[in-house]
Symmetry: C2
């Protein structure tokens, strides 16, 4: 019999919790019998929601937690104080080996801080990067790091490049992924102090397919599979992507409503346009993994729907099946360490 | 008689030179009699182009230069070696007071380096910031700094905030402009080392209307009039803006061509959509000024058309009329220095 992948899922996190979270879990377990979802959160709320479904009882477990971490709370404090929250309990299950992964649409700060504090890093990983997939003209790229730890050092960025390559190759199936570093020009001598120091390390690294610098303008064109940057810059890229996209789509919708002629046209183009914009929707690809931990922690969008939760759960299964953490160990550690 | 504003214009710079550059100059001088444009570049090429126009000879001067700086050349070296280039000659005219401003669509690197090396900074200005206007949902914001000097210090960012406020108030007519610093969260304790050190300086500054942090997601929504950041981050924001916009518009166009129904719809929405996307086009607002120099240097888009050149020339006139450099001196320097 195939081994089960056990996923702790925060039933309380995100704008659409618990309804869409539980719906996503239901869709995942009904699609695959090798998944067990452990829902953390207020038992009575979860059970009420579960009552509307028929499902294999062995694939769903509820772990009652009495507290909820709100998005506005200072993350580290919240993790320390709210020991019986859906996030802390879920993360501890990963730490203790009771779950292979923890998935949450809740407070980013608490998930990032808690992932590091409670689950712990793989030996040799200096900083666990948060690595969302971003949509591009050609498909998607991995943006690594968008996490909580800013002001990275060159050695951190080198690790991000290696870890990101493992992820893209073995989870997303991109052979020999192209790695580039975010820069303000294409030439090697360009950049800030961090990029200038990191560039030669990436160039010399034998484990990755480094293609040089990438200007921000080229990122949406999909010129690189793994886009390496420091977390402050990564956060700006991720959020500006969302912001420019949202404003532009709004403007276009507004423009289509300008007059009768354009309104009729809008009705005709709408279905085709919807399909196009879906391509540019990050939630198609599941959540953003926090990589390099002793287990897997995935942050999904605050606005996650059932579909994103389901896709994220499948992503966790692939992560386990492909033994990604062993592969990360092998690329980060010296040979004698990795064999330990 | 009203004083003339003298603008040195690089007739050789940009993808559409000399045709669109000279066309822009012609449109500017025929619209206003208080402008004199000094075209720098290859005299024979310029004269051939000018032959197609009728214009007031006193408003156009041609200064022959024999060299052209290419965009791929290392900037500082190019400025030092090509002393008879359209960029170096134009910048020196500003330095010597023969022109009030220099405008070029040529090599960004050469214009930024040359502006600092040849024109020189206003006393007290630590770093001259490059400050383009970026389109937003509500209109536009000033993004300051997108220049060549990365790894800024907190005191530089404080100056950018002050200089940017002067520009937005007196050139763009935004009363009491809202100033925000680019950050990875809205809370005061968030950020990298630079932002954390800069935040209290901005908060204490009496000369600006500081509203706190701005996340990249909010920039396109126009939440701040003056968006302060270090040049590396500014460059990423500016170029990602262009990149996401270009890919999304392409995707939408492609989506409209998906089938016959959508093609008919596309024909109907096209005029309204074109007007909408024009709102989101940075070239409407003219070029990006390099501020804090003893004179004005403006970099326009490499793809500048006559319209952007004309708008940039008008921008230079307002800059002189509003005596922006005196206002920058007053906000940067101690009272005794500004009176010198």
């Amino acid at each position: 019999m195939k081994e089960m992948t056990k996923i702790a899922l925060d039933a309380m996190g995100g704008d659409n919790a618990p309804k869409e979270i539980i719906k996503g879990a239901m869709e995942a377990v009904s699609a695959r019998s090798d998944i067990k979802v452990i829902l953390t959160g207020k038992e009575d709320v979860i059970k009420e929601e579960l009552a509307g479904y028929t499902y294999n009882k062995e694939q769903i477990e509820v772990v009652n937690t009495t507290e909820v971490i709100e998005t506005a709370e200072p993350p580290v404090m919240a993790i320390r104080k709210k020991k019986d929250s859906s996030i802390v309990v879920g993360l501890k299950m990963v730490k203790n080996g009771e779950a292979d992964a923890f998935v949450s649409a809740g407070s980013s700060g608490a998930i990032l801080a808690g992932g590091q504090l409670l689950v712990g890093r793989i030996k040799g990983v200096e900083r666990p990067p948060l690595a969302p997939l971003i949509p591009t003209e050609k498909g998607f790229s991995l943006l690594i790091d968008c996490g909580a730890n800013v002001d990275a050092r060159p050695s951190h960025l080198l690790q991000f490049a290696k870890i990101g390559s493992v992820y893209m190759e073995h989870i997303m199936g991109v052979k020999n992924p192209k790695v580039a570093i975010v820069n303000i020009g294409a030439e090697e001598e360009k950049g800030n102090a961090l990029v200038k120091e990191t560039f030669p390390l990436l160039k010399e690294c034998q484990d990755i397919h480094f293609t040089g610098s990438i200007e921000a303008r080229e990122i949406p064109h999909g010129q690189a599979d793994v886009v390496v940057c420091e977390a402050f810059v990564g956060n700006v890229i991720l959020k500006l992507y969302e912001g420019v996209g949202a404003v532009l789509v709004d403007k276009i919708k507004g423009g289509m409503m300008a007059n009768l002629r354009s309104k009729i046209g809008a009705l005709l183009v709408k279905p085709a346009l919807k399909a196009t914009l879906k391509d540019f929707d990050a939630s198609e690809y599941g959540g953003a993994p926090l990589l390099g931990l002793n287990g897997l922690v995935v942050k999904t969008h605050g606005s996650s729907t059932a579909k994103e939760i389901k896709n994220t759960i499948f992503q966790c299964v692939t992560f386990k099946e492909q033994d990604i953490n062993q592969k990360i160990k092998e690329c980060i550690q010296q040979p004698e360490e990795a064999a330990e």
